[in-house]
């Protein structure tokens, strides 16, 4: 099975009081295994909404979303939780680390739901800390880290269970040029390992890595480059 994500005619409408805001209006997208897809578009165009729908944390108003052969529209919360835990790695724009857990614990906790042994968890945490250069920060809390470090922890956490699909939202949006470069390197390395990724970004350094570039405008997804 080569198609990892198949979104067809996805519509999403938000209602704020009497006002109906149509964010997505018939979006179609297919992502194959090992592909690096970017989504760009103006602010408020629905990029994050689309990413959330693909990740199963939001549901479309209309349309069908199939990820790894599962129709996410018809699944219950428990299934979706387990599905996300095993198949999808999320990197949020605002990092969203758990403030009460240390860096190591933040990386470890998604593994604790996959019935991995404690030794497996410990060695994986160690491996990811080294990979992202965070060994010296292992026992620090998120608020004690810089933005770039927090973003690296978010990547390490997303990769903890080695999910086949990575969804990344504006990974360099809040970072300076130099720190952003480190994140670009991480993405480059993941691409080399043929990890399937959908990245929302405007960063040209990341766009240059993409196999498929898309633009979300007026609720429609336009293929810019393949």
């Amino acid at each position: 099975m080569n198609v990892v994500v198949s979104a067809s005619e996805i519509c999403k409408t938000f209602e704020v009081g009497d006002l109906r805001i149509e964010v997505l209006n018939g979006v179609n997208l297919e992502v194959e295994k090992g592909e690096f897809v970017t989504i760009s578009g103006p602010s408020g165009s629905g990029k994050t909404t689309l990413l959330n729908i693909i990740g199963g944390i939001d549901k479309p108003t209309k349309g069908r979303i199939i990820v790894f052969g599962e129709d996410l529209n018809v699944k219950d919360e428990d299934f979706l939780a387990s599905f996300r835990c095993h198949n999808i790695g999320f990197v949020f724009q605002s990092y969203n680390l758990i403030s009460t857990l240390t860096v190591s614990e933040n990386i470890a906790f998604p593994m604790e739901w996959t019935k991995k042994s404690t030794s497996q968890i410990e060695s994986r945490v160690k491996e990811l800390l080294e990979k992202f250069g965070l060994q010296h920060r292992a026992n620090h809390f998120p608020f004690q880290l810089s933005g770039g470090e927090q973003q690296r922890v978010a990547f390490a956490r997303a990769l903890a269970n080695d999910p086949p699909l990575l969804l990344v939202d504006e990974p360099t949006g809040n970072l300076d040029v130099k720190t952003g470069l480190k994140i670009v390197e991480v993405l480059r390395e993941l691409k080399e390992r043929e990890k399937t990724m959908i990245v929302v970004t405007h960063d040209t350094r990341i766009l240059d890595l993409a196999d498929k570039k898309t633009l979300l405008e007026d609720g429609k997804l336009v293929l810019m480059f393949e």
Partner: protein, 621 residues
């Protein structure tokens, strides 16, 4: 921005938080006022019900309980209010930092948040007073319609004003401190999570453990909100202390006091006497639970004395029965002073020469069915050189200074007071002496009362009928009176008084639950986004519920342990002398307290269940 506009706007912006704080404070003020007014009504009810009824010993236990519970109610209300106000103001610390960073002067910031405090405090106190008043009036009416004995006195408006003013001042005092602290702190500190979350020390090195994630997040969440957690633990400790004192104390005191009466009167005892003595004795025993007057009667009239034939007839009955002979009379008694050694080692005279009427009962110490709760000792079986007496607690209180060091004069005879007993007969205005001593000084040779204890309960009715027949056969004027009936009435009366007291803590529990829910909502508001992240990364809804459950359980159990431990100590050491604690009592108390704990815990999960129904995006927003 005007000084009035900003606070109102800020309060409106935080709709959930403002309404929760206002509702909780309203409930807190309302329930405290309600409890004060209602316990006053019930308290007055108890005192007026007990007036001229309960013995001094019983009344003391009741008033000690009521006083202690009232103090706890006030303390509980004050701590709840301070916690809620503290929680409200603490949540604004970050905003204070932002405003300071933007260049807003300190006095203006203080003005903004103090106005907010004033608005919330005034509205809550006002609504609370109305709520408390309405609740009191409504419950008083309902109970009165249900024929429950309750005072229908008009509401004391000074009390309302007192509660309003004290809570209003209390809220301002407790609320103004965090506002002042926030305005004094540097903007960079106020904005730092380290400051308002209080995380400083790095934890121990990472060690993965499968079970610990839920507990780890829960415990660190609790410690992050250390200040709020300490306050809610204090609130709940006080609540559980109140519950324990009233539930455990109530149950123990109820059983202990019932046991005193039951042992003093005796179970399955029949009284055989002339019908006029029977009526008189019934009134004397009933004075414990009913206002009754005794008529003048010469107890030693020849016709009232027990015929020897009757005693012989009863003794010859084939059934397993025991007889006790008593000589009862209504006489003048006189207190005689005694001597004792004071703290300097000098001999001093204690007491006076007060005198009054009392019931004097001559008993056979070696053969009596009664078992009294005593201070001192009971009459000796063998006759000594001195005549001894045991006096009832009401006599001891009203006529004696240091009873056990004094003497008593009856019919010119001097008795050593060797004990003070709790006895319902004639409401504790009773003197027990050796029947032989009484017979010697009065010259009355026969008893005027025979008590019969039926040992076998299986053929109780048959034995009763045979005894009735035997009594009537000897003398038509003599009767058999079952003391069980009067005993049951006295026990029911005590039970009613205790249940009125034990009803009060459930009102406190009702007002504590919203307070605890307020804490849970505070915790959830703070953790909501992180719970959303956990869900987005694969945590199932029940994982979130587990985290909240662990947090609530830790807070509840720590409060429960402290509250129950102190409550039991206070009850056993201070409130109930010589408590009667059986394994059933322990089970009953444990059951009631566990039910209260379980109910509070289950209700506290409601906000988490509600949060779990939200979509991940709503949680992340």
């Amino acid at each position: 921005m005007s000084e009035t506009f900003f606070p109102i706007n800020d309060l409106m912006r935080r709709k959930l938080q403002t309404s929760l704080t206002t509702v909780s404070l309203t409930l807190c003020v309302g329930s405290t006022l309600f409890l004060l007014l209602f316990s006053d009504r019930t308290g007055l009810g108890i005192l007026s019900a007990a007036e001229e009824k309960l013995t001094i010993g019983f009344s003391t236990i009741f008033s000690r309980f009521l006083l202690f519970i009232s103090i706890l109610f006030l303390a509980l209300g004050a701590i709840f209010a301070s916690f809620l106000i503290f929680a409200m103001v603490t949540q604004r610390t970050r905003d204070v930092g932002l405003m300071k960073a933007a260049g807003c002067p300190n006095n203006l910031i203080f003005g903004y948040f103090f106005t907010e405090l004033l608005v919330v405090a005034f509205i809550s106190c006002f609504l609370g007073v109305i709520l408390g008043l309405l609740a009191d009036l409504a419950l008083a009416r309902i109970l009165s319609n249900a024929s429950f004995q309750i005072q229908q006195n008009p509401v004391d408006f000074w009390k309302i004003l007192l509660i309003f003013t004290s809570f209003f001042i209390l809220m301002l005092v407790f609320g103004v401190k965090p506002v002042l602290n926030s305005t004094k702190v540097e903007p960079v500190k106020a904005l730092s999570p380290t400051y308002y979350w209080g995380i400083a020390a790095p934890p121990s090195p990472f060690k993965a453990s499968k079970q610990s994630l839920t507990v780890k997040i829960a415990l660190r969440g609790i410690f992050r909100r250390a200040s709020a957690t300490i306050r809610i633990v204090l609130c709940l400790t006080l609540l559980f202390l109140l519950l324990t004192v009233t539930i455990a104390g109530g149950v123990i005191a109820k059983q202990t006091t019932e046991n005193w009466i039951e042992k003093a009167v005796g179970r399955n005892i029949l009284l055989i006497a002339h019908h006029e003595i029977c009526s008189q004795y019934e009134i004397l025993l009933s004075k414990f639970h009913e206002n009754m007057e005794v008529s003048a009667l010469n107890y030693t009239t020849e016709e009232y004395l027990i015929p020897e034939a009757l005693e012989a007839h009863l003794n010859s009955m084939p059934h397993n029965i025991r007889l006790e002979r008593r000589l009862v009379m209504w006489v003048y008694i006189k207190e005689l002073p005694g001597t004792m050694v004071d703290e300097h080692g000098a001999y001093i005279t204690v007491g006076d020469s007060r005198e009054g009427e009392s019931l004097v009962v001559g008993v056979e110490p070696e053969n009596t069915f009664g078992e009294w709760f005593l201070d001192g000792e009971f009459l000796k079986e063998e006759e000594g050189e001195n005549m001894c007496a045991v006096i009832g607690d009401s006599i001891a209180n009203s006529m004696f200074t240091v009873p056990l060091e004094q003497y008593l004069q009856v019919y010119g005879g001097q008795f050593d007071v060797v004990g003070v007993c709790v006895d319902p007969i004639n409401n504790g205005k009773v003197v027990y002496v050796n029947i032989r001593d009484l017979q010697r000084i009065t010259g009355v040779s026969k008893p005027n009362i025979l008590l019969v204890k039926v040992a076998s309960l299986s053929d109780y009715e048959k034995v009763l009928n045979e005894i009735r027949g035997a009594v009537k056969a000897v003398n038509q004027d003599f009767e058999v009176l079952e003391l069980n009936t009067i005993l049951e009435k006295s026990l029911a009366f005590l039970g009613l008084l205790w249940s009125a007291i034990m009803f009060l803590p459930f009102c406190a529990l009702a007002s504590a639950v919203p307070c605890f829910i307020g804490y849970v909502v505070l915790a959830l508001t703070e953790q909501r986004q992180e719970f959303g992240v956990l869900r987005a990364l694969g945590a199932k809804p029940r994982t979130i519920l587990k985290v909240v459950a662990v947090q609530n359980l830790v807070v509840l159990l720590s409060s429960y342990a402290c509250g129950v431990a102190f409550g039991i100590i206070i009850t056993l050491l201070i409130l109930v002398p010589n408590p009667l604690v059986t394994s059933f009592t322990v089970l009953q108390i444990a059951g009631l307290l566990s039910t209260a704990l379980a109910a509070t815990f289950l209700i506290s999960l409601y906000p988490a269940i509600k949060l779990n129904r939200k979509s991940i995006l709503e949680m992340l927003a």
